[in-house]
């Protein structure tokens, strides 16, 4: 009886097996790599805002502390976007009148908030809290990058679960003294590891890795 398959069918089967294995392994690996790229996590993409608000002018130029504008950061889950009344403290009609600020004045007149576009956003199933991080010595820079050098704010950290959990497992390398929370470009006075361990003891920093810490 003649062979049902020609000899080269063996090669085809082997090649198919290899290709199938590559696909089965390769596609998930490629997808897992993709979701970690800055493109998928939307890092480093400046977000257009209704007013060309520049953190460089205000933070570096005018030496305004982050907490002057984001004033709820120390006591609530949200850092808060400043209300228009915070801007008119300095940009009142007589001081520093600028056409750039027409929207702020309109917002004061009508009581309608300015519609800033969100930059950092977690999915709704994640619970995040600024106050605890700030109170335990995680600086703004650690999660938001050099905001003082951003013309338009962009998302500096990946904000993936592994990013959060990596720090929660071992916070010591990321901690700084409570007086330096809003400092940009802070460097530890001694080796960060030993310095961080010291701060862990001083501020009683726990390692929180239960799922219910962030998914509640």
């Amino acid at each position: 009886m003649a062979a049902l398959f020609p000899r080269w069918a063996n090669t085809v089967v082997r090649a198919t097996l290899v290709a199938a294995t590559c696909t089965l392994v390769g596609v998930p690996v490629a997808l897992m790599a993709w979701v970690r790229t800055p493109n998928a996590t939307r890092r480093y993409q400046p977000v257009a805002q209704p007013i060309a608000f520049d953190h460089r002018i205000h933070v570096t130029g005018q030496r305004i502390d982050c907490r002057y504008c984001h004033f709820s950061v120390e006591r609530s889950a949200s850092a808060g976007i400043p209300p228009s009344s915070t801007c008119v403290a300095c940009h009142s009609d007589t001081w520093m009148r600028s056409s750039e600020l027409a929207l702020v004045r309109a917002s004061i007149a009508t009581g309608q908030a300015i519609r800033w576009s969100r930059v950092n956003a977690l999915p709704d199933f994640v619970y995040f809290n600024h106050a605890i991080h700030v109170a335990k010595g995680v600086g703004c820079e650690t999660c938001h990058g050099r905001v003082d050098r951003m013309a338009a704010v962009y998302q500096a950290a990946p904000l993936t679960m592994s990013w959060c959990v990596d720090c929660h497992r071992d916070p010591a390398p990321h901690l700084r003294p409570l007086s330096e929370i809003t400092t940009m470009g802070w460097t530890p006075p001694t080796a960060q590891r030993a310095f961080g361990e010291e701060l862990v003891r001083e501020n009683n920093v726990r390692s929180l890795t239960n799922c219910t810490t962030c998914h509640r």
């Binding site: 997808l31 993709w34 130029g61 005018q62 030496r63 305004i64 502390d65 907490r67 002057y68 004033f71 949200s78 976007i81 009344s85 915070t86 008119v88 403290a89 300095c90 009142s92 007589t94 001081w95 520093m96 009581g111 309608q112 908030a113 800033w116 969100r118 999915p123 709704d124 199933f125 007086s179």
Partner: protein, 218 residues
């Protein structure tokens, strides 16, 4: 036959992925109920219910918080018998003075300077009348309740800081300002502030109150 079915199967399996990876603005909605976007109001979110389309609404005018309703004494209002209280009506611990320094540096030093002399980068950018020195003799003679009133309700061009600072924090700031007024030694930042204040206020003819000269302090 099998291969055709496999191809169709694979195509169907990857279809949702192709959709999910597309960079459409509706991407958050098209993620097949992963609960990334839940039906609830977030801070700063949109609302279809209210006229101004904001989920965050200002409380109706005249709303009184529980704390402020309970706190009608001197500690909450800075007034007693219609007059500003003469001295801080709460006891300030050293830890609270440290808190006062921190809050002063964040909220007041922006305009009044790190040493309170009225010299800051923001003050330089403002036209006159500029933020005055908080170390003047006239302010030193004022009652503590007056500073509390200015911090709570604002004065002239100075905005109110009642939202940013709790009454206790405002008293802590006042304690720190009084400490500044009494202190004669300056940190380098305060010295720079006093020099800057002398420079900007002396070039400012509209400014009536002469700030203390930089040389007045060692």
């Amino acid at each position: 036959m099998i291969s055709t079915r496999a191809v169709i199967g694979l195509a169907v399996a990857f279809c949702p992925l192709a959709l999910a990876c597309g960079d459409s603005p509706e991407r958050e909605r098209l993620d097949f109920e992963r609960m990334r976007l839940q039906q609830r109001y977030d801070l700063y979110g949109k609302s279809g219910v209210f006229a101004n389309h904001q989920s965050m609404q200002a409380p109706p005018t005249g709303t009184v918080t529980r704390e402020s309703a309970l706190d009608t004494g001197a500690a909450g209002t800075g007034m007693s018998g219609g007059q500003p209280v003469a001295s801080v009506p709460v006891s300030l611990t050293p830890a609270q003075l440290v808190l006062g320094e921190r809050k002063f540096t964040i909220y007041c030093a922006v305009c009044h300077g790190a040493g309170g002399f009225g010299g800051s980068i923001v003050a330089e950018n403002m036209g006159p009348p500029r933020p005055p020195s908080l170390r003047s003799d006239s302010l030193a003679a004022r009652p503590d309740g007056y500073i509390f009133d200015v911090a709570t309700h604002g004065k002239g061009r100075m905005p109110a800081y009642a939202v940013e600072l709790t009454p206790m924090e405002r008293w802590a700031v006042i304690g720190y300002i009084r400490m500044l007024q009494q202190s004669r030694t300056l940190t380098p930042a305060q010295r720079a502030d006093s020099l800057r204040a002398a420079a900007i206020h002396s070039s400012d003819s509209l400014f009536s109150e002469t700030p203390r000269a930089a040389g007045a302090f060692p």
